[in-house]
Amino acid sequence: MKVRILVSLKESVLDPQGQTVRNALHTLGYHQVKDVRQGKVFELELEGLNRQDAEKIIPEISDRVLANPIIEKFSWEIMEA
């Protein structure tokens, strides 16, 4: 089973990297870009789990290791069963 987990800074936390990317895009003339938030993507391959177990374990992994819950939030999707 393949899972994609997206970790990014919470809305309440300033993201200077995202702002820098936005400024670069503005320099190139893409003024339509109102905001950029930068994050990390993790692709996990899980085995020996049914969907229900996976749905339990993925947020656990994200919360305990992949994201720092003080500053980051995460979302995830199962790519292939």
Binding site: L9, S12, V13, L14, P16, Q17, T20, V65, L66, N68, I70, I71
Partner: protein, 258 residues
């Protein structure tokens, strides 16, 4: 004499500097503690040194917290043992939950390697008792992720409990935006846990403990720890800060594989 333990993770790079200052400048018994060890060798104080443990993979300090030695360090902290985290050591303490809050990338997105001034905000701790409140220390920083962040509720709690021990300031001790080089909330450069036995700081006192390196201000932190431990142990033989400098003895080689 007190016994200090300097933890060595794969990627620690201030371990020898810290060991040198504790042993040769401060004249204390010092041992290295290997990240795979399960024994703190009866040390009075654990120091987590600076560096890039585990290559700063995932987040600075995020992987080091899973090292076997960290289990012992948590137990040591729970029993009131003194723990000093410097730079990456501070980041590890945050990731391990031994100190509250988190580190963000520096506000200017640059690795900062420079002298900074920090002001002692609270000198009633085991880590700052040899200094005066309001005293300005000149100590270098070297980090990418030193922009300390705490959510508003936590921040007001830290302020209320006097847990902020050092703040970035200018030469005169004024808090300015310019002096707060990495963008930390409330200019926080170092903080202590509620119990008062775990302190993390981004500046490197071990790089400012000899005049030849431009500053001896970092010794205030080590002196404070030694004074505190001596008082606690009741050895009573309090030496002055200008202790006779012991002969420099060679540092032990590192044994073990990463």
């Amino acid at each position: 004499m007190m016994k200090f333990g300097v933890v060595v993770f794969p990627g620690s790079n201030c371990d020898y500097d810290t060991f040198h200052v504790l042993q040769n400048v401060m004249g204390q018994e010092t041992v290295f503690l290997w990240h795979k060890d399960h024994d703190l060798q009866g040390v009075d104080c654990v120091v987590l040194p600076g560096g890039f443990s585990y290559g700063d993979y995932l987040r600075s300090g995020a992987i080091a917290r899973f090292s076997p030695i960290m289990r012992e360090i948590k137990k040591f902290a729970d029993s009131g043992g003194l723990i000093l985290g410097i730079c990456n050591g501070f980041q590890i303490l945050l990731e391990a939950g031994l100190l509250p809050g988190a580190m963000l990338r520096n506000k200017n997105l640059k690795f900062l390697c420079q002298q900074v001034n920090i002001r002692i905000e609270n000198n009633r701790t085991a880590f700052s008792g040899a200094g005066k409140k309001g005293q300005v220390l000149r100590i270098p920083i070297a980090h990418f992720d030193g922009n300390y962040y705490a959510p508003p509720e936590l921040l007001s709690e830290l302020e209320k409990n006097n847990q902020i021990v050092f703040r970035y300031c200018d030469r005169k001790g004024q808090l300015t935006e310019e002096a707060n080089v990495n963008g930390s909330v409330n200019s926080i450069a170092g903080l202590i846990n509620r119990q008062g036995n775990v302190l993390g700081m981004m500046p490197h006192p071990e790089r400012a403990s000899e005049n030849i390196l431009g500053s001896e201000d970092g010794k205030v932190i080590f002196r404070s720890l030694i004074d505190y431990l001596e008082k606690k142990k009741g050895t009573g033989k309090k030496k002055t800060v200008r202790a006779v400098r012991p002969a420099v003895s060679p540092l032990p080689p590192l044994i073990g594989t990463f």
